[in-house]
């Protein structure tokens, strides 16, 4: 009897987890891609994030903002990956060689942006992606990254100013 109750409960729990994953996976994978610029790596990051969340699902399933929590797990996985690599080296995918003449301005612009983004410290990349792609509030981003609101504001401004610096004057005209 208890065994069957346990099985039913587990089934409900797995259904709930599956529904959560299906609803949030596409967006999470895109955010992962913007952070690493490689779809295969983004796939791995997304899978790892969900595996970690399932491991503590019983504890977190009733959390107020599971989506924000998933971003926190994702960013921590990313930061961990990066720390495991040599200190000075940046985890960064080799981008396809898009930026050639004949390509549309749109393609050139976004490749330039992704390259410029890649030159920022990884936490600044996270701030830019979470703020300007995911449209999350400063407070939410601060919560995800475990830093203060003022740090998010300052680093965001600095990151944007560096994007401008890296993209150069040409970019401003387009």
């Amino acid at each position: 009897m208890t065994a069957r109750w346990g099985a039913a409960r587990r089934q409900a729990r797995e259904a709930e987890f599956t529904a959560f994953v299906e609803a949030t996976a596409p967006k999470l994978r895109r955010t992962a891609y913007l952070m690493c610029r490689d779809w295969h790596f983004a796939q791995d990051l997304t899978q790892t994030t969900f595996a970690k969340m399932y491991a503590s699902w019983g504890r977190i399933r009733h959390a107020a903002n599971l989506e924000a929590y998933s971003r926190k797990v994702l960013m921590n996985v990313l930061f961990d990956q990066r720390n495991r690599r040599s200190a000075g080296e940046m985890v960064l995918a080799e981008l396809p060689d898009h930026a050639q003449s004949g390509q549309s301005d749109a393609v050139e612009n976004h490749v330039a942006l992704m390259r410029a983004l890649a030159t920022l410290p990884v936490r600044d990349q996270a701030i830019v992606v979470l703020r300007h792609w995911e449209d999350l509030s400063v407070e939410t981003v601060a919560g995800i990254l475990g830093v203060s609101v003022s740090v998010v504001k300052t680093q965001n401004a600095r990151a944007l100013s560096r994007l401008r610096s890296a993209l150069g004057e040409d970019f401003a005209r387009t």
């Binding site: 994953v21 596409p26 490689d38 595996a51 985890v91 410029a116 560096r162 150069g168």
Partner: protein
């Protein structure tokens, strides 16, 4: 410039193949880990021997792989034509830089034989440029004021091979927050070809 639009364009090459069964795999990994724990905890001699055989089969799939194809940092300016005013080094000062430190950094850069022109950019100038660049995205400009943008020195080098040395020297100076090296590696500089 609309960052969100650019991000959307950047996602245009998303593989259209059906996304993997994330949930199924996550749960399988979780179940495997739980089973392994059970085996280890309840390990009588026989169970341990059995587990040794089983453990290999149950070893979690290595999901945290870092693809070997990651390359080193690429400067965007090296891939697209840059303007004449392209800066080689941007030396950003800390928020609480003192007058003396600023003067010392200026001195250090001006007197370096590899430095060509050294231009100081105040917070107000940085803010003016920032506003001009993001003039079509007022949402980005709102909430940012001049005090949040760093002061910097923009350096154009006469000897590009010295970029790393000058960058390191500047980085270690008091009052310097960070140095961004925008030099293109030899042979990758398209400023002339552009």
């Amino acid at each position: 410039m609309d960052l969100r639009l650019l991000f959307e364009q950047a996602l245009a090459d998303e593989p259209s193949a059906a996304p993997a069964d994330f949930a199924g795999r996550a749960m399988a990994i979780g179940r495997r880990q739980r089973r392994r724990r059970t085996i280890v905890v309840g390990g009588t001699g026989a169970a341990v021997i059995a587990a040794l055989g089983v453990a290999n089969l149950l070893a979690p799939t290595p999901v945290e792989t870092v693809p070997a194809r990651f390359a080193s940092l690429v400067n965007p300016l090296c891939e697209s034509p840059a303007g004449d005013t392209a800066t080689d080094l941007s030396v950003f000062l800390t928020a609480d830089v003192t007058d003396r430190q600023r003067a010392a950094v200026n001195e250090l850069l001006q007197h370096d034989p590899a430095a060509g022109t050294v231009r100081y950019e105040s917070r107000d100038q940085a803010y003016a440029q920032f506003k001009a660049l993001f003039s079509d995205a007022p949402a980005l400009v709102t909430g940012v004021d001049a005090s949040e943008l760093p002061e910097s020195f923009r350096v154009k080098l006469v000897d590009g091979a010295q970029a790393d040395r000058v960058a390191n020297k500047a980085k270690n100076a008091p009052g310097v927050d960070d140095v961004i090296n925008s030099r293109c590696p030899d042979g990758a500089d398209v400023t002339a070809a552009g």
